[in-house]
C-alpha cells in the first residue's frame, strides 16, 4: 500500500475548524479512508469536538454522535449492541464499523474505566486514542499521557512523573487487536486501520498526535516531529494480536538494525515544551534519564531480535 493507492473519497471534508498543522484532522482523514463509508462514528469530548466545526456545519462525512468525556467505551458498547440487533432484524446487510474517537484525556484519565469495561466485555468496536499528550483543547494541561519533563500550563517546570502506557494496558486486557500509529507513517497507519476493520471484538489503536500550539513547534513541522518521535524511540510503532507483538515501520527498522536510534535530544530540542531542559542551561540529569529509559527498552528489543535470528540460524542448520 502506497499513499497514491489510498481511496480518493474524502470522508473528512474541507473547511474544518482545526488549527494549522493539526494532527487530529490528518489522522481522521487516514482513518476514514481506511475504514470507508460503512462506519458510524462517536466523537468523545476532545479537540475533535471542536475541529469537526460547530453546528450547523460539519467536516465529518459519517453519521456522528458527539458524546461526553468519560463515555467512549460505553457508548461504543451501546452502538455495537444495537447494530447486532439491526443485523438480526435484517435492517443491516453488513454490520457497520463502530468507531469511537477520543483524545488522551478521554482515554488515559476520565475515560479509562469505560474503556476497560468495554475491553473486558470484548465489545465489538474500534477505539482510537489520538494522543497529543495533554489536554490541548482546554489550553494544554497535563494528562496521564504527558511525558516526563514536558511543560504544560499546570506543569510549568516540566512534569515530574512518567507517562502511563494505555496501549500496554489494553494489551493486558487480552483484546484481539492493539496497535500504535504515527502521522509520519501514514501507510502503516492505513494498514492497521484496514486490518482492524476486519477483526471482531474490541480493537484499540493509539496515534501519537504532535500538537503545534501545545508542544510549541511551527505548524509546518507536525510530520517532522512525529517522525523524530519514532526515530528517537519516544514513540514506538507496533501491533499486538494473538498474544504476539510485532514492531512495524520505523520502530521495526531500528530494532532490526536497519536504522540507528537517534539521540532523544533531537526530538526534545525541536519542541518548546522541553525548552527548559536546554535553557538557560542544559539539564543533564533529566535528559539522561529520558535517554536511559529509551535506550534500555531498545537494547532489550535489539538483543531479543538478534537472539531470535540466531536461534533461527541454528534451527535451519543441517548439522543439528
Amino acid at each position: 500500500m502506497r499513499l497514491r493507492d489510498f481511496p480518493a473519497e474524502e470522508l473528512f471534508l474541507q473547511g474544518s475548524a482545526a488549527c494549522q498543522g493539526c494532527p487530529g484532522s490528518a489522522a481522521l482523514r487516514v482513518a476514514f479512508k481506511a475504514l470507508g463509508r460503512n462506519t458510524v462514528l462517536c466523537v468523545i469530548a476532545s479537540c475533535t469536538s471542536v475541529l469537526q466545526s460547530p453546528y450547523p456545519v460539519s467536516a465529518l462525512n459519517l453519521p456522528t454522535l458527539n458524546m461526553a468525556f468519560a463515555t467512549g467505551g460505553a457508548v461504543g458498547s451501546g452502538m455495537t449492541a444495537a447494530a447486532e440487533r439491526l443485523v438480526a432484524r435484517g435492517e443491516f446487510e453488513e454490520k457497520p464499523t463502530i468507531l469511537v474517537w477520543a483524545g488522551d484525556g478521554g482515554t488515559y484519565d476520565i475515560g479509562i474505566q469505560a474503556l476497560s469495561g468495554a475491553a473486558e466485555r470484548n465489545a465489538d468496536f474500534i477505539y482510537v486514542c489520538y494522543n497529543n499528550e495533554a489536554y490541548s483543547n482546554t489550553g494544554t494541561q497535563r494528562s496521564g499521557a504527558t511525558p516526563y519533563a514536558a511543560w504544560t500550563t499546570n506543569t510549568t517546570k516540566g512534569k515530574e512523573e512518567w507517562r502511563k502506557d494505555v496501549a500496554q494496558i489494553m494489551v493486558a486486557h487480552g483484546i484481539p487487536y492493539v496497535a500504535t500509529a504515527s502521522l509520519a507513517y501514514p501507510t502503516d497507519m492505513f494498514r492497521k486501520f484496514a486490518k482492524a476493520r476486519e477483526i471482531r471484538g474490541t480493537r484499540y489503536i493509539e496515534i501519537q498526535a504532535p500538537c503545534p500550539p501545545g508542544w510549541k513547534f511551527p505548524s509546518s513541522h507536525t510530520v517532522k516531529i512525529a517522525r523524530l518521535a519514532v526515530q528517537t524511540g519516544m514513540w514506538m510503532l507496533y501491533e499486538h494480536e494473538n498474544g504476539r507483538t510485532t514492531y512495524t515501520a520505523g520502530t521495526q527498522r531500528i530494532i532490526q538494525g536497519q536504522a540507528k536510534l537517534l539521540p532523544v535530544e533531537e526530538y526534545l530540542q525541536a519542541q518548546g515544551r522541553f525548552r527548559h531542559l536546554f535553557h538557560p542551561e542544559r539539564d543533564e540529569e533529566r535528559i539522561a534519564a529520558i535517554q536511559k529509559r529509551i535506550s534500555d527498552v531498545f537494547e532489550t528489543l535489539q538483543f531479543t531480535h538478534k537472539m531470535k535470528e540466531h536461534l533461527m540460524d541454528i534451527e535451519i542448520s543441517p548439522r543439528l
Partner: protein, 406 residues
C-alpha cells in the same frame, strides 16, 4: 396471565412486553432484581435483546444513548447513587433528543449508607429534561413502563422517561399483577420510532459545538416537548385502558375529590397510605380527598389549579427536601396554583431514608393543618432525638471538649 410478583420483576415484565432490544445496567440495591429477571428472560429465549453488563451507571446511560442513537429501543434500571452517578448523561440523553425508558427505584442517598426509600434521588434529577412518572402499585409499574415508551417515542415528545417507584415498599414486596397479552401491547405500542438516528445514508453530525445564537432554541424545543407531553401522557393512559386494560389516572390520580374541601397531595406509596388517611379523615367529619401526582415532570399545573381551586386547606407530603427551602413538591404545588385563589397550603417532610409514614401520622398533621395550627414553611413532624443520637452526641461532646470546640 395473573402473577404474584415483586415490583422489580414486574418492571422487567414491562421491558419485556415493550420488546426492548438493548438493556444496559449496573447493579444497585434495591434495583438488582430488575436486571436479574431481564437477563433470565434473555437466557431463556423469552426476550430478543442485547444485555450489556456495564461497569458503572455512567456507562449504563452512555450505552443507552449509543443504542437509541442507532435506532433501537433501550432500557435501564437504577437507583439513588446510580442515578446521581449518571447525572451528566441524563442531561445528554434528553438534550440530544432520544427516546428511552429507565426505571428508578427511589432510594435515599448516603452518607450514611441507607438503602431504603425516599425521593431525594429523582428530585435531584428533576431539571435534566427527563419525564418523571411515579407509581403507587405493582400493576401501575407494569402499565407505566409500557406507556412510557409510547410517550417517549411520540413525535410530539421525543424525550426520555423515568418510571419511579419506592424502594422495598414496592420493589421487594409481592403483589398480584395482570400480565397483558403481547398482541394487546403490540397494538398499543408501535415499533420503535424516533426523530433521528445515526443513518449511513444521511450522515448527520449530532451534538457538536453550538453557539449562543442557537443553543436556547434547542432548550426551548425541550420545554415545548414537555408541554406536549401533558396531552400525550393523558392520551396514553386512556388508550392503554381501552386497548390493553389498566388505568391509574393521567397526570394526577384523584381520590374522593368530588366534594372535597380539604386535600392531601403526595407521590408514590405515601399517596397509597394517604388513601387510608382520607377515609379516616372523612369518618372524623373532614370532607377530604387525595391528589396523587403521577407525572412530576411535566408538572400537572392545570389539573392542580382546577382541583385545588374550591378547597379550604391542602397538605403536601414530601419524601425529599430542597435544603435551604422546603419539600420540592410543596414549593411546586404552591407555584402551580399561585394567583388562582384557592386553599391555604401546608407542607411536611417525612419518610426520609425509609422512615415509616403511617396513616395516623398523616391524619394528625392533616387535622392540625385543616385547623390552621401548622406553622408555615417546612414542617418535619417525625423528627425527634432518639437514644442513638444521644449516644453519639455524648461521644462527640468529649471530642469537642478535647478540641476546644464550643
Amino acid at each position: 396471565m395473573r402473577l404474584v410478583e415483586t415490583g422489580n420483576h414486574v418492571a422487567a415484565w414491562g421491558a419485556r412486553l415493550s420488546r426492548v432490544e438493548v438493556v444496559s445496567a449496573y447493579p444497585i440495591t434495591p434495583q438488582t432484581q430488575v436486571i436479574e429477571e431481564i437477563s433470565r428472560f434473555i437466557d431463556e429465549g423469552e426476550m430478543e435483546c442485547e444485555y450489556i453488563p456495564v461497569e458503572s451507571e455512567h456507562s449504563a446511560m452512555a450505552a443507552m444513548i449509543g443504542a437509541a442513537a442507532m435506532g433501537v429501543r433501550a432500557f435501564s434500571a437504577t437507583s439513588a447513587h446510580g442515578l446521581a452517578y449518571m447525572h451528566e448523561l441524563l442531561h445528554w440523553a434528553a438534550a440530544v433528543r432520544l427516546p428511552m425508558v429507565m426505571v428508578n427505584v427511589n432510594r435515599a442517598l448516603g452518607p450514611g449508607w441507607n438503602i431504603w426509600c425516599d425521593h431525594q434521588d429523582t428530585m435531584a434529577a428533576r431539571d435534566t429534561g427527563w419525564i418523571q412518572l411515579y407509581c403507587a402499585d405493582h400493576q401501575e409499574i407494569l402499565d407505566t413502563v409500557i406507556q412510557a415508551y409510547r410517550i417517549s417515542e411520540d413525535p410530539r415528545v421525543i424525550l426520555p422517561v423515568m418510571v419511579c417507584y419506592d424502594a422495598f415498599v414496592m420493589s421487594h414486596t409481592y403483589m398480584q399483577v395482570d400480565i397483558p397479552e403481547q398482541e394487546a401491547v403490540d397494538r398499543f405500542l408501535p415499533p420503535f420510532r424516533s426523530l433521528w438516528k445515526l443513518d449511513l445514508e444521511y450522515p448527520f453530525t449530532h451534538g457538536s459545538v453550538i453557539y449562543p445564537d442557537d443553543y436556547e432554541e434547542v432548550r426551548f424545543s425541550m420545554q415545548q416537548a414537555m408541554d406536549n407531553a401533558r396531552r400525550v401522557i393523558a392520551e396514553a393512559a386512556r388508550e392503554y385502558r381501552d386497548v390493553v386494560g389498566g388505568y391509574h389516572g393521567e397526570l394526577v390520580d384523584a381520590y374522593r375529590m368530588e366534594d372535597a374541601e380539604y386535600a392531601l397531595l403526595a407521590m408514590g406509596t405515601v399517596a397509597s397510605e394517604c388513601r387510608v388517611a382520607v377515609d379516616e379523615l372523612r369518618e372524623s367529619g373532614y370532607p377530604c380527598g387525595l391528589v396523587r401526582i403521577r407525572s412530576y415532570r411535566p408538572f400537572p399545573v392545570a389539573e392542580l389549579r382546577e382541583l385545588l381551586a374550591p378547597l379550604r386547606v391542602a397538605l403536601v407530603i414530601d419524601r425529599a427536601v430542597s435544603f435551604g427551602l422546603e419539600g420540592p413538591l410543596f414549593s411546586e404545588v404552591k407555584a402551580a396554583v399561585y394567583g388562582n385563589g384557592g386553599p391555604s397550603i401546608h407542607g411536611m417532610v417525612t419518610g426520609l431514608g425509609g422512615r415509616d409514614v403511617p396513616y395516623d401520622l398523616i391524619v394528625d398533621n392533616a387535622v392540625a393543618a385543616f385547623k390552621g395550627k401548622l406553622l408555615p414553611g417546612s414542617h418535619w413532624p417525625a423528627v425527634r432525638l432518639n437514644d442513638h443520637h444521644r449516644l453519639v452526641k455524648r461521644s462527640l461532646e468529649e471530642y469537642w471538649k478535647k478540641e476546644g470546640v464550643r
